[in-house]
Amino acid sequence: MVAHADTRVVHRGGSKINFRAPVITQDSRFLICVSGECIKVFSTSTEECIHHLQGHKELVTGLVLNPSNHLQVFSCSEDGTIRLWDFTDGILIRVTLLHLKTPSTLHSVPGHCKKFGLVSLNLPPSVEQHVMVKGHTIVFQSVSTDPKCIAFGQGVRMHALTHSLTHSLTHSHTVFGFALGTSGEMAARNAFTCVACHPKDDCIATGHGDGKIRLWRNFNQEKEYTFSTVHWHHSGVNALCFTPEGTNLLSGGLESVLVQWRYGQEGQKDFLPRLGSSIKEIVVSPDGSLFCTSHTDNKITVIKNCTKVSAVIQGLVHGDGVKTALMVDPRTKALVLNGKPGHLQFYSLQRDQQLYNLDIVQQEYINQSNLDQFEVVKAALDSRGSWLATVEQRSAKEVEISLKLWAFDEHTQSFVLNTTISAPHDGPISEICFSPSSQNSTTLVSVSLDGHFKAWQLTQPDPSDGKQSDEEASWSCDFVGDYHSLEPKCCCFSADGSLLAVSFKEVVTVWSPASWDLLTTLSQPPGAIQDLCFGRLSCSKYLLGATDKNLCCWNLLTCSLEWSTALDVSLLLADPLSENVACPFLFVFRPSEPRPHFSQQALCTGRVTRAVFAPRDEPLDGCEESSQWLNRSQLYFLTHNMELLTFLTKPEEERLMALSKQVAVLKKHKQEFLHTSCLLFISLFISQFALTLSAIMTLVLSILT
């Protein structure tokens, strides 16, 4: 195997913007959030991304405004640095290196990180761009990694949560512990989930796993504390936040309802329901006019005046897994995949922005665990992007399936439901595909585990029926096929649409869609066929089939096996613009010759589940042989843990670098370091002292003179 130094696997968009709580600037104009290795600055009014703050080498794990200069923001990352940025101009001001990190051991063995501590650091005042920080003091051992579990009260009091204890830590480093529900089921359910401190009063609010919120008072003496309990949430409270004046307490959880409690009159509460998905974080702007909730579906909602959703910033939705194949919409060149539950998302790869969400299921989503929800399990777009077929499935007691066909409406520029076929098959549908044939006659083939495959065709209403002429064209079943009552697995149309291959266990059957005659059968036991793919362009006479152990290539002119090789392949991808076929873990080859012209092992951690060739707007003119396969289209793939990756060739990378350098002309900022005392908390990966045990630690940085 040849090593290819000129192509590199990179993350491409779709990083989590809900990983940490976003930050609203002092003037409420900007919203800053982490996004993988970079930091994004959004406008709160237009939802537009204004700056990408790039510089961190690893995942950004914390964000906080500079208390001394509210036009600057601190960020920390797993690469062991703390950076200070000017977010209005998008400029890096200072890098602080922490000597605590051992990134190589940390990153590859995350499972060993078990001990977390809270550490305070002194950031020395400096005007240099690179600063090393050596000394630190451990404030606190073994706290939760989640920043929601640490809160700062008035003065220098700090509250942190561990399993079922709340600590109060004063300036004099005294620690109080309060315990709840000592044993049994109660103790498991009322575990602490989050904490918030009242900005004026001596009051701590804590959220619990059973949906209760407890308000603690008088906790400066260990024995005499009191607490009151309020309860609305039916499952755990995920986020708590006091408004800056302390008049209201906001809470959110799985129900996706923002609850606003009046401080002091907890009986009164307001609701903001149906925010989309469960709330992860709540942030309030310093002047209290904007609320900001970040949700589990990679979304940040900006709420104005406590009642109105004014902006929604949506990233690539990372569901529980992509059930549909990755697709590229031929019209918008957007990536199409599962989005929110019951939705398909159209995600622009060029702009790293979600274009729109298409509601497939069209039902009210009930936020409740252990509920069988309808899920979009299959989707297919036809070659011109004018039809979309989706399969939704709910597997309660018996499987409920419906097949929906959506027509593209030029007027509204979105898909409109044309036909719903409930229970198209008796069993789950394993694959659907459109025939690529041109003009107006499109055929959809659905393959199901009930042993049949069905062909669906668009039928115009019969004009002879007379009155029913206002009916639109709709889809209906044209043909039902089976083969010796075997279970079909996958289907594939040839590039010109004249042949349909359907695999039944070990057998590949080839049909003619014009007459629905069975033309031939091909088989290469042992092993059931996992995926099928026709060659393109000059290789269109070849049919590729992947089994558990073999990759086979049949010549359709002779109906015989051309070549086969022992290879564990589960996915075959044909580039629509060239002859190349790719099978992740990665080999790229032409069906005409059984020799890969590109191969790369160990692409990334985790197994590649889905991949797609996205055609480029303009072909690259890369001349190196090994990267030529990337000239026409780009290969995007999705790993097991929902990371979207792609290949970047060297010329492309150079071009991108040149672009970013232009931006990164540093202005010389005069650094004024105010002599104030404040607290700032950031969590990051560091190893604890010289121990071999690596750990995530939460740092308390006290910037002191």
């Binding site: 903001l272 039902q363 252990n370 509920l371 007379g466 039902v480």
Partner: protein, 525 residues
Amino acid sequence: MASFKPTRIQVYPKLGEKVTQDTLYWKNYKAPVQIKEFGAITSIDFSPLAPHTYAVTASTRVHIYGPFSQEPVKTFTRFKDTAYSGRFRSDGQLLVAGCEDSAVRLFDVSGRVAIRMFKGHTKAVHVADFTSHGYQILTGSDDYTCKLWDIPNSAELTSYKEHTDYIRCGITSKLNRDLFFTGSYDHTLKLFDARVDKSVMNMDHGQPVESLLLYPSEGLLVSAGGRYVKVWDLLKGGQPLVSLKNHHKTVTSLCLGSNGQRLLSASLDRHVKVYSTTNYKVVHNFDYAASILSLGLAPDDESIVVGMTNGILSIKHKRTPEDSKGAVQQKRQPAYRIFVKGKNYVPKQEDYLVSKPVRQYLAKYDKLLRKFNVSKALDEAMEQWTRLRKSEIPMAVIKELDRRGTLKNALAGRDEKELCQLLSFVIMNLVDTRFTATLTTMAEMLLDIYQSTVGMSSLVDRQLLRLQELLDKETEYQQELMEVLGMLDVLFASAHPRKEVTLPGRDVCLCSIVVHLPILPCGYL
């Protein structure tokens, strides 16, 4: 904050026939007027002259109804026993009727007492009709004879004794004064010519003949007997033309509609079927409450009159354009007055249009579902009107509750009346294939919840027994269907040519028809 997505009401394909011109035409009748007579209605005859009154023979009377009257205009009661076959003469002035006591009576329509009596038969006379010139009467009797009588001197002219069983139907030619047809329980139809002393044509129907009908051109004769309706070509010497078997019980009455374009047949199976006379396909079907004995159709299909064994006379009048128009206009008027408010305002140049947000209107059950009031939402969807007329609405709500996992909560805690209502809904719709899957779950839940209360309420117990009966019946039915399916499989297998490469397309098409029959998971009770 996204708006609440209302419950999706599934649109189910309409079961039954396709909407054609014919169904629209034959559905365009008002709700039937029902009149109770004293006994089974054996004959209905329309007067050939306007206003088309009609004679209804039931029990010992012959009533004459006006075209729109609900009370008889005239009644002839001078029968000693059951009357049969009240018929008008072609001028509408005279009426003849047979009787169980073997006498045939002739009435003046304006009079009351029989003006002539024809005695000569020895048994009940079921057939009586005027010949085309109107001076003679044809009668057929249970004594196997048919006779021709002269009206002026009430004398018997001829008697034919060729049938070997009861004569129960007969018809005279409207074009020729000497020709008439009789049908008998000896399975034969005979054409007689009064100028000859024996039958001139003989046709075998194969079943006891109940009714006869001549086309206006008199080239074709239609006979009904047993489950068959047969059409005979008289110009080809009585060759059978078509045999129709669309009823599943004896066909009792025939008549022509739409100026001879449509043929109607009524049967003991409680259906009236409408055939096209060009291809003899059934184009429409009427359902009635009881077995039908007689059928009459007013000229231009103005009304359909049906007499049943339980003595109920059902009259359907055609809906006139004025009727439907009037109804619509009445409804609209008040809405229009509100609708027009501000519509005639002409906007000025400097006016600025403030667009109002479109308000989302939710159905009552949706409003309750939004508040998670599951029991109330189910109650709302189970309102009498929607429950009976639009069962897809309660079904959609039940499905939605099931999806939310709260169906059990919604079903629990019901009192006797509500529970009965739920159970009767289940019983009503359980065997409907479109609803079976959901209702099975619901029935199981109901049984789980109310298991302990069985025996405490007679009403609930009765419903449960009904449910059990229904399921037993359904399982039996399914078993029969499976047997048929098995037989068909054998037939297909033997008929299928042996080939190396099978062509599944063809036989799958045939099989799919069978597979679409409702399948119910059996025996969960």
